[in-house]
Structures are given as C-alpha cells and as structure tokens.
C-alpha cells in the first residue's frame, strides 16, 4: 500500500476496483475517484493536476476508472459527464465534482481532509 501513496491508482478490472474500494473503505481515508475516458479531452487536461494533488495529499486515496474499461462501474455510479470526481468516505459519497475544475477539486479535497470541516459537513 505504501508504494501507492502519492499516486493515482488505475483500476483496470472490476476485481481490482472492488478490492481498492474495500481497502479504501476499511482504511476510513478519503477516496477520490476519477471517472475518465481516453477520448475525453478535458480528462487529459486535468490528469497532470490530479497527479500533483495525489503527491500533495498522500493521506487521500486517488483511484482512476476508465469508463470504457469498467462500463458497469461507470453505469452503477451514474457517470454521464467527464471527468467526474466522486468523493468517498467509509462507503458514503460525500461530494462530487464534474468537469476539469481545478479550484473546485482542490477545495473539495481540502474540505474533506480538514477534521473540523469534515465533521461539520457530515
């Protein structure tokens, strides 16, 4: 697990996805899931920024799902526009950012990693 800290972890199979999800939920850490597609221009725009955020917030788990690779997952999570970032804590969706929106993304992460703010929003 330690080797993956500070990185965006790509989930390429449903099994890998379920495993990461379960691990993340058990760890009680904030998870940020990036639903993206290879053909989505805005996803390419935000990718370097997301990698930067992953380095900046090692206490947050960053996962990436390709909506074509894991179609059923994208459907289950009702992803329509891309990129969609789902914020998850102990199995509950606590926030959602749609689009390549740097500030909103950064602020949402800050909000859910600050203990006081997290409690207030819970």
């Amino acid at each position: 697990m330690a080797a993956e800290d500070g990185q965006v972890i790509g989930c390429h199979t449903v099994d890998a996805w379920n495993e990461q999800l379960q691990r993340g939920n058990e760890s009680k850490k904030l998870m940020v899931i990036d639903f993206a597609a290879s053909w989505c221009g805005p996803c390419r725009v935000i990718a370097p920024f997301l990698a930067e955020l992953a380095r900046k917030f090692p206490e947050v788990i960053f996962l990436k799902v390709d909506v074509d690779e894991l179609k059923t997952v994208a459907q289950d999570w009702a992803v329509e526009a891309m990129p969609t970032f789902m914020f998850l804590k102990e199995g509950t969706i606590v926030d959602k950012v749609v689009g390549a929106r740097k500030e909103e993304l950064q602020q949402a992460i800050a909000k859910h990693t600050t203990p006081a703010a997290a409690t207030a929003s819970a």
């Binding site: 989505c40 390419r44 990129p83 689009g99 929106r101």
Partner: protein
C-alpha cells in the same frame, strides 16, 4: 486615442471536416483525439487558454480565458472575445486535423460589430481585412465562398458573415440543426452587477464563484437538463458552457458599465419534440440580462426557427426593429434580427 474597454463581442468560427478512413470515422472520435499540446498551440495562436472543461460521449466543451471551444469528432466551434486573433487558429487546426486524416470541407465565420474596433489587432482590424485573411488561409477546395455584412436599423449592430464550402458540402449535411447567436448590449445595471466578484474575496474566484453566479443569476434555470461548466473572472465577467447530449449552449458576460455585453448561443434541431422549449430558453436567457438592445442571428437550412424568435422576445417588451435574411454556402440561411426595449 480614446480609452478602450473590454471588447465583449465575440468572433465565432465553425469548421467542418470529413475523413476518408472508415476505421477513423467508425470509432467516431476524430478531432477529439487531438492531444492537449496541439490544442494549446492552437489556443496560443489565438491568445487564450483553457480555464475549465467538461465532456460527454458526444463532444468536449472548454471554457476559455476568452470565451469557448467545442470539439466534436468532425466539427470545431471556437468563439473568442476581447482582442484575440481567432482566425489565426485556422492554419494550425487544418494541420492537426490533417494528421488525424481529416480534411476541411466547410468554414463559417461570424461576428457582430465591435464596440472598440480600433483596439482589434490584425487580422481583425476590419471585416475587409478578415475576409482577405480567410480567402488567403483557406484551402482552394473550399471554392464556394461568400462574405456579407447584414445591416440593421441600429447602427451599433450589424452581422458579419463569411462562409466557404467545398463542392460536396454546399448544402449542410446536418440540415435540421439550427444555431442561435444572441448579442445583448446595455444590460440592466442591477443584473449586470451580479457578475462582479465581491470585493476582497480572492478566495472564491474562478470555478467556485462561477458556480454561485450560475445559480444566483438564474442561468441554471435556462435549460435545467444541461450540465453546466462555468467560470467567474476577477474582478468581473463570467462564462459558461451547457452540455446536453450532443447540444451545447454558451453564455459570456462583460458586465462593466458603459460597454456592458452578454451573449447567449445555443444549438437545436427542428426535429426536437419541443420547439417550445427553445422559445422558453431564449426568453429566460434574455431575462437574465434585460438588455436595452439585442440582436439575434439564426442559422438554419430551413425557415422554421427564426419567426419564433420575435414570438419569444416580444412578451418581454422587446420590439423587433429590423430583419435581414441571406443565403450562404454550407450554412443555409442566416436571418439577422434586432430588438430594442420599448420605452416605458
């Protein structure tokens, strides 16, 4: 020289491409495969940058530092305001599209009348200069060309149109699609003030403040079905793209007193179930700004849409002052109407 304010009036360019490679066309990605570095090069030439973006299965929508960019598999729409050099995007776009196996088959350039024409750089110093540049830049296969300035009874509003097409795309393929371009000036002052950031509130600029403006101003109600990507500029100004299936809508606001301007653009199909929805959206968009003067340009292969524009706007106390129509290769007919608020 007189002090110049920010030029709200956009220049708009729509380029259509076609590809011979069936594999390429089958995956239906085309121009969406343009890497970001190429896109950045194009935007550099124009002198603007991406500030926010979103996509769906049909197209990519970018909010730019100066307006908007939409990328479809075989179509690009780029709209920029201020003193950007929009036409300089054509050469690099043709080049990058060619690398993807795509060839330019039609081009449409439109704009209103600049508020500060003297502030415009080459090749936008005059419409004549723009047309010369277009004539020079476009490949020779786009041999059907037409340039026209559509007049109105309001001297500050006229509509500049240039279209070009190759042999096989003179009649638009997507003949059911219409585009509405609305240019509003002399915005209601109280409403325009909503597009300024609160002073000293640096923490909420950008996309977070944009989201608030979308809500507070009623822009979110224009088409509740659309996903909105928005951005607020510091100290004032606002841009948004709405995406819904394969359709986009876009709004840009320059709220400063003296040269206030807002634009609303949307696309639709004459086969849409509820054309009433179009009337409702247009009416709501104009209500957000309550301009003293506005122009509406309707581009469509058929004449089903433009008569409904007056029907949408007259209940708001706006009176139609002029209506001009003309036919263009690759675009179909363009109808340019102007409206002013009735004196109370």
């Amino acid at each position: 020289m007189a002090m110049s304010g920010f030029e709200g009036f956009e220049k708009r360019l729509e380029l259509h491409f076609f590809g011979d490679d069936p594999v390429m066309m089958d995956n239906n990605l085309g121009l969406r495969l343009l890497d970001f570095e190429s896109l950045e090069q194009v935007l550099n030439a124009v002198q603007c940058t991406v500030v926010s973006a979103v996509a769906n299965q049909y197209f990519d929508a970018y909010v730019l530092s100066e307006s908007s960019l939409f990328v479809y598999p075989t179509k690009i729409i780029i709209k920029t305001c201020g003193t950007t050099q929009l036409l300089k995007s054509i050469r690099p776009l043709i080049h990058y599209a060619c690398n993807l196996g795509l060839t330019l088959c039609s081009c449409r350039y439109t704009r209103g009348s600049f508020i500060f024409p003297k502030a415009q750089p080459f090749p936008h110093t005059s419409f004549k200069e723009e047309v010369l540049y277009l004539e020079d830049t476009l490949p020779t296969n786009l041999c059907y060309r037409k340039a026209s300035v559509m007049p109105s009874k309001i001297t500050t509003h006229s509509w500049h149109v240039f279209t070009a097409s190759d042999q096989s795309h003179i009649i638009p393929n997507d003949h059911d699609i219409y585009t509405i371009e609305v240019c509003m000036t002399e915005l209601d002052r109280a409403l325009a003030r909503k597009f300024f950031l609160p002073p000293g509130d640096g923490s909420r600029s950008g996309d977070i403040a944009g989201k608030e403006m979308t809500k507070v101003t009623g822009i979110s109600d224009i088409n509740p079905r659309a996903m909105i990507c928005d951005f607020a500029f510091d100290p004032c100004g606002y841009s948004m793209n709405g995406i819904h299936n394969d359709r986009y809508s876009t709004i840009h606001v320059t709220p400063e007193d003296g040269f206030s301007y807002a634009s609303y653009e949307c696309v639709g199909s004459i086969f849409d179930d509820d054309i009433e929805h179009f009337i409702g959206s247009l009416r709501k968009a104009v209500q957000v700004f309550r301009p003293a003067t506005l122009s509406v340009s309707t581009t469509c292969a058929s004449h089903e849409v433009w008569p409904r524009v007056a029907h949408a706007l007259e209940p708001l106390g706006l009176k139609c002052r002029s209506c001009a129509a003309d036919e263009f290769p690759a675009a179909g007919s363009i109808v340019f109407q102007t409206f002013t608020a009735r004196r109370k």
